[in-house]
């Protein structure tokens, strides 16, 4: 019985390797490939053209990454703060219009960005927010907040406010009760919603283009034309960098969260 389960897990693992790792491996090979025609198993023509072009622009790309990561981190940070507050309001309190409020928070899930982007653009131009980083951050928030709120709601519902009340009974102030009792318990969920919001923002193309007017340049803005342009080695080189940086940023998140949440005993909220 146990052996059989082992076999199934192995099969799933193999499938995972096939669908995720294999394409990534092929992508890495393509960064140095000019021609790889059927039916050869190895590329016929290799070159460093794509890589040398990327290295040539490495300074500009480093700047681009710094600003992309900044923008996405700002979006993720704001999403978490707003998400936590909204989730607390929706889960722990009763007030008039609560269901409506809830509906509004998930509305951007249901309406595709292409539908509201034009309206957002015109409003932002009127407000003077177009072509600014602040405008881009705000527009990304529209897309990332539903995820953050949804995740934080589940987390808040699981943690509840009983422990916080207990802390209050024992003499903690409201702030102390939240930051020393609830917050550490919420760290894993906060990390998930932070990452989710970060990813949504980092890979956002259409809204960034429209609100940023092409003047707020993120990595996605520069990368997508190459994906569409069909120059596979350059597109692959960009994709590999995109993947690498994203993984690095996530490893960093994990590390930071590990330090914050090391006194967390997850049994409270499972």
């Amino acid at each position: 019985m146990k052996k059989k389960r082992f076999a199934i897990t192995n099969m799933i693992l193999a499938l995972f390797v096939l669908t995720v790792v294999l394409p990534i491996a092929v992508m890495i090979v393509w960064t140095v490939t000019e021609r790889w025609a059927w039916p050869d198993l190895v590329p016929q023509v290799l070159s460093l053209r794509a890589l040398s072009e990327i290295f040539r622009r490495s300074e500009a790309l480093a700047k681009l990454f710094a600003s992309s990561i900044m923008i996405s981190a700002a979006v993720a940070m704001a999403s978490v703060v707003i998400g936590t507050l909204t989730a607390r309001a929706l889960v722990l309190y009763e007030f008039w219009g609560k269901r409506m409020m809830y509906f509004f928070t998930v509305l951007p899930f249901m309406v595709p960005a292409t539908v509201f982007a034009m309206g957002v653009q015109i409003s932002f131009i009127k407000l003077g927010l177009n072509n600014t980083v602040a405008g881009v951050v705000l527009s990304h928030l529209i897309c990332s907040l539903p995820y953050a709120v949804r995740l934080m709601m589940d987390g808040t519902a699981a943690v509840g406010d009983r422990l916080e009340e207990q802390a209050r009974v024992l003499g903690a102030s409201m702030g102390q009760a939240f930051f020393r009792v609830t917050f550490p318990l919420l760290v894993p969920v906060i990390l998930s919603s932070f990452s989710m919001a970060y990813i949504v923002s980092f890979s956002q193309y259409f809204l960034t283009l429209l609100i940023g007017g092409g003047q707020v340049k993120t990595f996605t803005i520069v990368m997508v034309p190459y994906l569409q342009g069909g120059d596979r080695n350059i597109a692959c080189a960009y994709s590999v960098i995109f993947l690498g940086i994203t993984l690095a940023v996530f490893a960093l998140f994990e590390k930071i969260a590990g330090r914050w949440g090391k006194n967390t005993d997850t049994e409270f909220y499972t």
């Binding site: 600003s67 034009m118 980083v133 702030g175 007017g213 092409g214 596979r232």
Partner: protein, 422 residues
């Protein structure tokens, strides 16, 4: 309670701080000086002479919006054209990679919102996009007569310069480069290249499942179908045809018949077509297809030099010719820096820049060879076109004009209904 509020304020301050440093880190203050100079230079750009425009544009930034999927071109714009503009006119060029659909949607958004100091200055455009932008008053002009290089080096009477897909330009666009459809095959795989549509049908029969074209409305797929229509139905009748679906359908029926006859021998038996010309490019490079087609008439040699195509790859045309067009530069109606844009466009039409584009990217030049000095002619003559290209005089002698822009979407619609999967 107080502590909690304090904590919230702190968190908010952190977020804002992040956003602020992201913004200051990114803009480098470019936007602000662009605004200042933009305002001063767009005032009455209509009445200025070219020297006054040059003076007004000094120290300003010009944004150039256009397709950004060609690394060689991007590199050239960043490393050759931009430094040249900076040195000669003290103008900073900012290339913004964006598809034309998005450029126009952003522009229309800005105009609707009444933005007068718009972010878009120069636009790379042609065809139906130009027509719709001009008809919706989204472009600035007429401006080309003001540019000395336009008057001096360009054949202002030729239809390549006065008409864009048979639509009168009226001075709202300046030529940027010429394109012409060519087909590409590897002579080592298929030694005989089809010279007309009958031979193309034979070619498809002999290479069953290895020939196809990009699904319309892809630019290249669309021009291929128009070229087939020209071959079979002649091209003269289309130049003044009304964009009425029934009329067009009747006129192109023999060509549709031919395309349907071609279907069973195509890739996937013509039930579906590759989504874009870039997909077809890659399929051809991979050997999955034996025929490729492109608007980039001299691009084959660049790809052979890179190693994407084999040494034996050769571009070719139909005997009756292939469709060529010109791509243009226009200025947004609400551009914040019209003077700078005009100076940049003028520079782009200079023989030196055109010769450099011809040399580095093999773009067909827009300048009139006969108007050049001997020295300038030499710069063009010495360019080595490389392998796999059709000689320029032969290519241009078999150049057919584009159809009126408004017929293009009609044909695309008819193709979708009458050809795919039939």
């Amino acid at each position: 309670m107080r502590k909690r509020i304090f904590a919230l304020l702190l968190a908010a301050a952190m977020v804002l701080g992040l956003a602020a440093c992201a913004s200051s880190g990114h803009n480098d203050g470019k936007k602000s000086d662009e605004k200042v100079s933009g305002e001063s230079s767009s005032e009455g750009a209509e009445d200025m002479t070219f020297d006054e425009l040059k003076e007004a544009a000094k120290g300003s930034t010009v944004t150039f919006y256009g397709w950004g999927g060609d690394e060689v071109l991007n590199q050239w714009l960043d490393d050759v054209f931009a430094p040249n503009m900076k040195e000669k006119y003290d103008i900073t060029m900012e290339r913004v990679p964006m598809d034309i659909d998005q450029v126009l949607s952003q522009l229309s958004g800005e105009i609707q919102a009444g933005e007068e100091d718009g972010s878009i200055d120069m636009i790379w455009i042609n065809g139906e996009n130009f027509q719709s932008a001009k008809e919706n008053n989204m472009l600035y002009g007429p401006f080309v007569e003001k540019l000395p290089n336009f008057e001096e080096y360009i054949d202002t009477e030729s239809e390549d310069v006065t008409l864009d897909f048979a639509y009168p330009i009226d001075g709202y666009e300046a030529p940027y480069g010429k394109a012409q459809m060519v087909m590409i095959a590897d002579t080592a795989v298929t030694p005989d290249m089809p010279k007309n549509t009958d031979e193309l049908l034979e070619f498809a029969k002999n290479n069953k499942g290895k020939v196809t074209y990009p699904a319309l409305p892809d630019f290249t797929g669309s021009v291929f179908v128009r070229n087939v229509i020209y071959e079979i139905c002649g091209y003269e009748q289309f130049l003044d045809m009304e964009a009425d679906k029934e009329t067009v359908k009747k006129a192109v029926e023999p060509a549709l018949e031919y395309l349907r006859k071609l279907n069973p021998y195509l890739w996937n038996e013509g039930k579906t077509f590759p989504d874009s010309s870039t997909t077809v490019d890659n399929m051809f490079a991979d050997g999955e297809l034996v025929l490729n087609m492109t608007y980039d008439a001299f691009g084959t040699s660049v790809k052979i030099a890179d190693g994407t195509y084999t040494e034996t790859t050769q571009s070719f045309q139909f005997d009756k010719g292939t469709i060529g067009n010109t791509n243009f530069m226009a200025i947004a109606a609400n551009s914040g820096n019209k003077a700078g844009a005009m100076v940049a466009i003028n520079e782009m039409m200079s023989p030196e820049i055109q010769a450099d584009r011809y040399d580095k990217m093999k773009v067909l030049p827009v300048v009139d060879y006969n108007k050049l000095s001997d020295e300038q002619k030499e710069a063009f003559d010495k360019v080595d076109l490389g392998k796999g290209n059709i000689p320029q005089d032969e290519l241009l002698s078999k150049r057919l004009p584009e159809m009126p822009a408004q017929l293009v979407p009609v044909i695309e619609e008819i193709w979708l209904e009458e050809v795919v999967g039939k």
